[in-house]
Symmetry: C2
Subunit: 390 residues, 2 copies
């Protein structure tokens, strides 16, 4: 961690980092999932940044969203073209300051970036699981992270932080393991998907499953369902932006042409952008993982699982201090959903700070450089640290 | 038209109607399209309702949206399970009263319900056009309707009315043939698609073109790209609803089950609804027509074509009285776009009434029973009729 690399947008990076793996749940001690199914052995891919202090009181767990991974910041190699997915927030002097905190991030259960998921080898067949992989839930993802945290010898997390589906994991941590979580940062998230969010996910899943190359999920020996996955990603990308951001970013500008093609080429920049995003995604992501993670997000409902339907009762179990942040143009997880969380925490007797950030960038805003967000997170973490030291 | 059939939701129907066909543009007199391509012969499928009066002053042209057709009201047969697509608005005593007005509706150029489109026979090959069908524009659709209006011996339309892509045709009529159009009713529409609307259309098109059965558009001899078209329709359906309407209609309710499937079945009602809509659509619609019509809508930009980029200049050409209606929860063509139209008409010296209707049903609201909308349209048409008679 001694090597610092300049980062274009945001100054100093945490430098070179390494992906590590933890394996647990060997039979007969498999992990029991919320569905009742058993899964094991389970590999968790993870990375850490900064140094764990002597009394192990400075650990921060970052939870990633749908297409993220354990690589939250820094570079694997000197010549890496770009850093981890939240390098703007995690690093020396940044919102989550790696000179002060020991940051942990692991690939979620069901993912495809090193943690066990549908593309992993099924020990009972010696071949990739495909759709024989059991459905996992947000709670299962948190349980796997808990094994990692225990493995690292940490018995209290200073903070759990994340956005979107990562934010769901944050909320779940606070009520599933309240004694472990001293503070929680939940960005652009919700305790349950609206039917609109479910609808988008379902159409994206249908696009994958409609691709004949998907083969009922058992495609690992042959060509992959790239067309279906690309369409799924394009649908996702629409929901991550906002009408305003699309108008600002693309308008009705044409892509490398003066006049219409009068055929089905990508005439408009927005079409070209979406096609490009779809193409890029298939190179790095597994279609079945897309199915499993979106389904886990759709199933998630904190108040059902922890409050017998009452969100106040659910949050009354939490002991963390909360920072909840929403973005005005996020129409996937609109601000009203964050406000519901904030009211429930308050009514449950909890402590919560809330900020609705004016931003044109839709749901993706939590991933983009934003000084206000960095300052909010920095300030919140300093407060939490100092109140714990006192 | 003497036979009246009871209609569940809205009283009396116009009764039994018949689809008719007009054929024009035989070589060497083909239709010249905006792209410069020639098309012909062209068949226009159309229906009429009510009686044309002696001085031919009571003709109303209704323009349909993406998935509509010439069958705006009434029934083809006694045992038809349901009436035309806007039977709530068009019929005896309804918003557009067929006892007073002679209503015409034709299937749009590029469609698949009787008018020439990509599934029609290409006279130069004797086989369906497929992607050899030329791109058509909203202006081309209007030109084809103009041929029909001329054929019916009508030299002034009392009104042109329609919503969504039908509304685009309405606006285009007012500036393309200003002398012919005495009034115009434009519902839930826009003079140009936002990049968000283009994005949804593009992803839907990609879903169709990703289906291997699409075969570059030449699938008419074999199986059809039903999977791709179903996904495209599901994407469309999300945009026709609204977050509010989905919450009211579906919430997070499960479909015929008490607990989650823990597989990729349709657990939630909203998933089941979308799958059903996708399946129903492939039984009645042609995938290539979906491509052509959405592309025409994406290309459309009234201010570019008629005002050198100025929407005020474009509308200053119109001589019609306008009624513009938007719906609060329509996020495909949001109210601000209708307000832009209204301001431009006023600033261009035109006469316009505007109403933003409070409705939870999103873009689809213009198709649903709404007493306020019926009364607005009825009142507007009575005003226009009487001011012309004076």
């Amino acid at each position: 961690m001694s090597e610092y690399i300049e980062h274009d947008s945001d100054g100093i990076s945490v430098g070179l980092v390494e992906k590590k793996h933890l394996i647990f749940g060997h039979p007969p001690n498999q992990m029991r999932l919320e569905s009742g199914a058993l899964l094991g052995p389970v590999t968790i891919a993870y990375e850490t940044y900064g140094e764990l202090n002597a009394d192990k009181s400075n650990a921060v767990l970052v939870c990633h969203a749908l297409s993220g991974d354990s690589h939250v910041a820094g570079y694997y190699r000197e010549d890496d073209p770009k850093p981890g997915w939240w390098d703007i927030m995690v690093g020396p002097g940044k919102g989550i300051d790696t000179e002060k905190y020991f940051v942990i991030c692991s690939n979620i259960l069901g993912g495809c970036m090193g943690t066990t998921g549908p593309s992993s080898t099924n020990p009972s067949t010696g071949r990739p699981y495909g759709l024989d992989f059991p459905l996992v839930t947000i709670g299962d993802m948190v349980d796997a992270q808990k094994v990692l945290v225990d493995h690292l010898g940490i018995d209290k997390l200073l903070c759990v932080a994340g956005g979107s589906i990562g934010g769901m994991q944050v909320l779940e941590w606070t009520v599933r393991h309240p004694e472990l979580v001293q503070s929680a940062i939940a960005l652009a998230t919700t305790t349950k998907h609206s039917p609109l969010a479910i609808a988008f996910n379902e159409v994206a899943r249908q696009a994958i499953m409609a691709d004949p190359k998907w083969m009922g999920g058992h495609y690992y020996d042959g060509p992959r369902p790239d067309h279906g996955l690309a369409v799924a990603r394009m649908i996702g990308h629409i929901t991550y932006l906002s009408e305003e951001s699309m108008r600002a970013k693309f308008g009705r500008r044409l892509q490398n042409r003066e006049a219409f093609s009068y055929n089905f080429d990508a005439d408009f920049q927005v079409e070209s952008y979406l096609r490009h995003q779809g193409q890029k995604f298939v190179e790095r992501f597994d279609a079945n993982s897309f199915l499993y993670i979106t389904k886990a997000a759709d199933y998630y409902e904190l108040e059902r699982d922890h409050g017998r339907g009452s969100i106040v009762e659910a949050f009354s179990k939490a002991k963390a201090k909360f920072l909840v942040v929403s973005f005005t143009s996020d129409w996937l997880y609109p601000s009203y959903q964050s406000k519901t969380i904030v009211q429930a925490i308050k009514r449950g007797g909890g402590e919560v700070s809330f900020c609705e950030i004016e931003a044109d960038w839709g749901h993706d805003a939590f991933l983009l450089p934003n000084e206000r967000l960095s300052n909010l997170i920095r300030g919140f973490m300093e407060n939490v640290s100092s109140s714990i030291r006192r």
